[in-house]
Amino acid sequence: MTALRLMTGQGIELVGNSSPVIELTTFDNIADRIGTVFALPDDITITHVWIRYGARVTGTTPVQYKTGLQGVDGSGLPNGTYLGGGSPASGTFTPPASTAWDATGQWIALDNSYAGTRGEMMSHIVEPVGDPATGPNTSSFARDIDIARRNGQAIPYSLTKDGAAAWTKNGTDLPIYGVANGSPATSSATAVFGYPIVTANTSANFSTAAEAGGQLTMPDICDTFKISGIYFQGRVLGALAKTAAIHIYNDASTPVSQQSKTGLDSDWCASPNSTHRLHEMYFTTLAALSPGTPYNIVVSPQDAAQNCTLSYIDVAYAQDMMALPFGTGFVWTERASGGATAFTAIATRRPMLDLIISDITEPVGGGAGGGAHIIGGTVVR
């Protein structure tokens, strides 16, 4: 059996005892900047860029800001010139004088689109147009996600510029940014790249018959496939001989388990009450699953007060998921009780749960090329 582990939270590694935290920079000087240097994954006409607002830090009336795409100089810094020449790929926006944008992702339309090419290095910039020091009316913007023990970011990377000082690169944290053709905010995107992640969190405790995990709809690139295991970040409270299970259900009104593994007890590897542990688990008997059909791959507590948790990341709009592996085909799923209770999917939430996929069969009639196509094609990007 050849198994492929497909990361479902690309770049947001599963890390035990970890809670990714959003990092913010406050613009309190008209010369302040934040940026991200990245390589464009594909040919795309970029019409929108994504920013993640923090909050109004001082004052009530934010100033106007500009965002857009610049080139990269030989030192890996934004070169100060917006791409597009006389038709610069930039746009302006003014955060509202309210909390409406707090901790949200916003897609900003560029005044002029930019035809990027695969592999092109470019930078995404946010800069003030008005002077936030007047008032002052300062606002914070998110620049990256601080991830436990990651500590080794090369490309892409975020940068900050504090007033007149030079740009400072961040070699530790994962930048959050986004570029798109069309706007996910209006469900009109045809391509989305980057990490348009609004926040990362851990679920509330779920116990007894409640279940949570990911709902996968495999793209139609194979005849059948199997999921031999999962790798997830969360808690499975093992106190008092309590155990959990993992299941794959179909997505019927009365879900039917397609395969499972019972007896998962975190007493084996961690003390009770531990948070954010990593669990690599394998199913016993594997069912042949079909592309184009949603399946609910979940963690299933078995006892009251067992208090399982599962970590996740949130995006602002369902189409933002297009930037992540599996795209919109892998989202959060949950139900409060078992039996004849259907699962509810959350299109803007991605569980911190990787799938170990095996036994992929070629499409009937050939053509798609089997497993190798999956790695390089639709699923990963």
Binding site: S19, L24, T26, D102, D146, R150, A200, N201
Partner: protein
């Protein structure tokens, strides 16, 4: 984040998020306070972070900055911080089990 990390201010939003404003290095000039912040999605996550249950790499350093501030109760050069410490910050530091 440097070992000299100084917590400038902690704010909790109506939506339940926690913003921890910090400055690296010696006490900042007033104009550079509130420059950088970490946003925690909930008070529970921040509390776990402070209580050391969530020992990811950076936690130890920010925890080192937070604990003396909470436990030793040092003199704060900005009187507004006392408000956050007593009226806001302590509300998330509990001892109950998760």
């Amino acid at each position: 984040m440097a070992d000299e990390t100084r917590i400038d201010e902690v704010r909790f939003t109506e939506a339940g998020r926690a913003l921890v404003f910090y400055t690296d290095g010696p006490p900042p000039l007033p104009e550079v306070r509130l420059k950088h912040a970490k946003e925690f999605p909930s008070r529970e996550v921040l509390r776990a972070f402070i209580e050391g249950e969530d020992l990811w790499g950076l936690a130890g350093r920010i925890q080192a900055a937070l604990r003396p501030w909470l436990v030793v109760n040092p003199q704060l050069d900005d009187p507004r911080q006392a408000q956050y410490r007593t009226a806001r910050f302590e509300t998330v530091v509990g001892t109950e089990a998760p």
